[in-house]
Amino acid sequence: MKARVTVTLRKGILDPQGKAIEGALLAQGLHGIESVRQGKIFDIELSETLVGAAEELLEEACRKLLANQVVEDFRIEILTDR
């Protein structure tokens, strides 16, 4: 099974990298972009075949390592269920 975990900064947490990217996009003349927040994507392959169990496993992975919940939120998507 393949899954994708997306980790993003929580609302209200300053994202200076996103801000800098936003500024650079505007400097390219790409007007209409209102804000940019940068995050991380993890594409993960699992041996688990049950969606529920896979989601549980990934949630634990997020809590233990992939996301720092002081400032980050995470989202889990199961991409294929074989």
């Binding site: 300053l14 990298q17 800098a20 390592l65 002081v70």
Partner: protein, 229 residues
């Protein structure tokens, strides 16, 4: 004072801190590989040195926080043992949950490497007994992720319990404003655990122990530790 300095893959300040500890205490610390799962018997102080453990992959300190030795370090801290985390060591301490909060990218996104004044907030801890409360010291900073962030509740608790160890200030001791190099909340440069036996700080006191290399303002921290207990 039996000190153990933990070496992670990517640590690069371990020799500086070993030298500072030996200079202050007369006793060379043990250098312990992060893959070990026990500390040497009789360890009083554990030091997590600066550097770029695991190349700062994922988040600074996040991978090292899960190294085998960190379980022993957490047990040592729970017993009241002393733990000092400098720069990347501070990042490892917050990622492992031994200290609250997180160190984010510097507000201006630049890696900062220069001298910096700090205010010593209190002088009644094992780490700062050889300073005076309110003393202004000048030490080195060198980091890209030193911007201390935590939630309002935790920040209020840190302040209320007097757990701020050092704040960024100017040469006259004026805290914050332009003297804050990285955007840290409340100009925080270092914090203590609730029992004051764990200290994490971004600046590098270990680099200021001899006049020939720019000053000795970092030395009292190591003297405090060597004379403690």
């Amino acid at each position: 004072m039996n000190a153990a300095v933990i070496l992670f893959p990517g640590s690069n300040r371990e020799k500086d801190v070993c030298r500072a500890l030996e200079h202050a205490s007369g006793k060379a610390p043990r250098l312990i590989w992060h893959g070990e799962d026990t500390l040497p018997p009789g360890t009083d102080l554990v030091v997590l040195p600066g550097g770029f453990s695991y190349g700062d992959y994922l988040r600074c300190g996040a991978m090292a926080a899960h190294s085998p030795i960190m379980r022993a370090v957490a047990e040592h801290a729970a017993r009241g043992g002393l733990v000092l985390g400098i720069c990347n060591g501070f990042q490892i301490l917050v990622e492992s949950g031994l200290l609250p909060g997180i160190l984010m990218r510097n507000a201006d996104l630049r890696f900062i490497c220069r001298m910096q004044h700090l205010s010593v907030e209190r002088a009644d801890t094992p780490f700062t007994a050889q300073y005076k409360a309110g003393q202004v010291i000048k030490v080195a900073i060198a980091h890209g992720e030193g911007n201390y962030v935590t939630d309002d509740h935790t920040l209020a608790r840190l302040e209320g319990d007097g757990r701020i160890a050092f704040r960024y200030c100017d040469a006259r001791g004026q805290i914050g404003g332009a003297a804050n190099p990285n955007g840290s909340l409340n100009d925080i440069a270092g914090i203590y655990s609730d029992k004051f036996n764990v200290l994490g700080l971004m600046p590098h006191p270990e680099n200021l122990i001899e006049p020939i290399i720019g000053g000795t303002d970092g030395l009292p921290l190591f003297q405090s530790l060597s004379q403690y207990g």
